[in-house]
Amino acid sequence: MTVDEVVSVPDLRGHFGKFGGRFVPEALMAALDELDEAFRKASVDPGFIKQLRELQVNYTGRPSPITEAKRFSQHAGGATILLKREDLNHTGSHKINNVLGQGLLTQRMGKTRVIAETGAGQHGVATATVAALLGLECVVYMGEEDTKRQALNVARMKLLGATVVPVTIGSRTLKDAINEAMRDWVANVETTHYMLGTVAGPAPFPEMVRDFHRIIGDESREQMLSRYGRLPDVVAACVGGGSNAIGIFTAFIPDASVRLLGLEAGGEGIETGRHASTIVGGAVGVLHGARSYIMQDDDGQTIESHSISAGLDYPSVGPEHAYLADIGRAEYRSVTDVEAMNAFKLLCETEGIIPAIETAHALAGAIEIGKELGEGAIILINLSGRGDKDVETAAKYFGMNL
């Protein structure tokens, strides 16, 4: 496998090796074809590129800086930990990158309504934000369990004019929110664009969402070269569906010297079965329109995932991650709830940055790999989101009286 071959995925039908593809009802095929065409035309249209760029700079606040986490690094074997500050984007996470792109595409397709699924609420907030900005009707599906865990984000979406629909079937988390969004889409596809929030789902979503997020890695690579005169030894990010990780990985994939590390949610531990580590602890299957690693039983029924982090609590993973794992270009590890919360607290107290609990999984991974590599190593972490939404969960976890 040469580097060029890795870079050229997916194929024309959205396959990353044996992963990806389109496993959807026939009723959605026309909409996916339409989206694919709109995306390909826009990708090479200078007008679209300029419009998106303008929003990235003047609305999101790009480029996001890289912060050297000096005090945090002391707990990571002396390796230098750098944070790509996607938490400083407008709306507080990397999710805005994708929804700006898809929002503009929605307009180009002449559609007036967007729907989205959300777990932690970050993608829901980002979608509601862009819908408000562009004057689109917005409905967000969110598992009832998650509306409780992430009440602040529910309020934000409502303030932004979106309708939040609590999903009360199945495990009442992200997977069920996606099911409901797909049901809505099948019924309303003529007027509605499904603004899928991660690099999963049927083609062209994994490729399109990746391309809207690759700016994270493109910027990082330039910032590394201009500030440090070298590339990092490791680029690490948390992986649920995997959008922030693909976003920061993509620019570095051709750089063979750069290790790519994805940190999956280990929940209570892989051995307990209560986790969301699909690559580390799952098996190949088809869920939500794509073939990837999924959590399933012997009969092909989806097993409910578990994580303290709503945004990583998902029983599948983007097909490109499955592919990168299979060909050995990226490595995936599992981080438990406890390890993530320890890293969460450590970043708060050493750097004055409250990260999202999702992101805390990447920080825990950084501590581990930092200790393995020791002094002199540079580890670049995608600080994918800020933790305001998690304050209540964290306070409860640490037994604080509010």
Partner: protein, 259 residues
């Protein structure tokens, strides 16, 4: 020619559409499902679609979602589905399975086709598998003499209809509404046009389903399609009145099938 072909031919010779009924395996229980299906067949159902219960049924509305949950909570496994196919085939009615793709892939594509055929099953409907992703499935169904039914939708282009028609055997499933399963007060006027388009690409029987629940709708569809597919309405009838409800609905729908 298969018993599926015979069932459509018999309906045609009687100048009516065939009645195709759906019920998830294991609903309301493994034995209960077979009992209800036997009652449907007594009431006039020509072809039976056995649903393979799945945890993430994105094409199904609340009625079938609930039935599937009850089935899964009752312990339905892949083996239950195959066993149900066997028992329904023994009733002398063509048995199909309708399954989302992952349970089949997990079972093993070739193993499923072989075991399904050995159980007496005639065909498999795969609502989230399109011909583009079906290479292995086409090989396995061909070598195990199993019909494979793909769907066309109101949104399908002529090009896609041709592709689906080309890959399908048994009959072509035309979705009557854009949306999930579940009773509707009316089906789209556009469905007649879709059936006509399909006929330009295929000589296979065309059956219409999604949202169809009443004898009046069945009658309307019977004027231009070869089969009428009813699912959620049977689930509701069984929920309310068990096998007697299933039989009564089958009888009522049968009255509507004449041309």
């Amino acid at each position: 020619m298969s018993s599926l072909h015979d069932a459509f031919a018999r309906a045609k010779s009687e100048n009516r559409a065939a009645l195709i009924a759906y019920l998830p395996a294991g609903y309301p229980s493994e034995d209960g499902a077979v009992e209800c299906i036997a009652a449907m067949v007594e009431g006039g159902v020509d072809i039976v679609e056995i649903g393979f219960p799945y945890s993430d049924p994105v094409m199904d509305g609340p009625t079938i979602q609930d039935a599937v949950n009850i089935s899964l909570e009752g312990g339905t496994k892949s083996a239950t589905v195959i066993n149900t196919v066997k028992r329904v085939s023994e009733l002398g009615v063509p048995a199909l399975v309708m399954s989302y793709w992952n349970p089949i892939e997990r079972y093993g594509v070739d193993a499923f086709a072989a075991d399904f055929h050995a159980a007496g099953g005639v065909g498999v409907i795969t609502p989230d598998l399109t011909p583009e992703e079906a290479e292995d499935w086409i090989t396995s169904t061909n070598s195990n003499d199993v019909d494979r039914v793909f769907l066309v939708a109101l949104s399908s282009s002529d090009e896609r209809i041709a592709k689906v028609a080309n890959a399908t055997t048994g009959f072509i499933y035309a979705g009557a509404v854009m949306g999930v399963t579940g009773a509707r007060t009316s089906v789209s006027d556009a469905i007649e046009g879709l059936v006509a388009k399909v006929r330009r690409h295929s000589d296979l029987p065309v059956a219409v389903g999604l949202g169809v629940s009443t004898p009046e709708q069945a009658h309307e569809i019977a004027q231009y399609a070869d089969g009428v597919i009813v699912g959620s309405a049977f689930v509701t009838a069984i929920k309310n009145d068990g096998p007697a409800g299933a039989k009564a609905l089958a009888q009522a729908l049968s009255q509507g099938l004449s041309r």
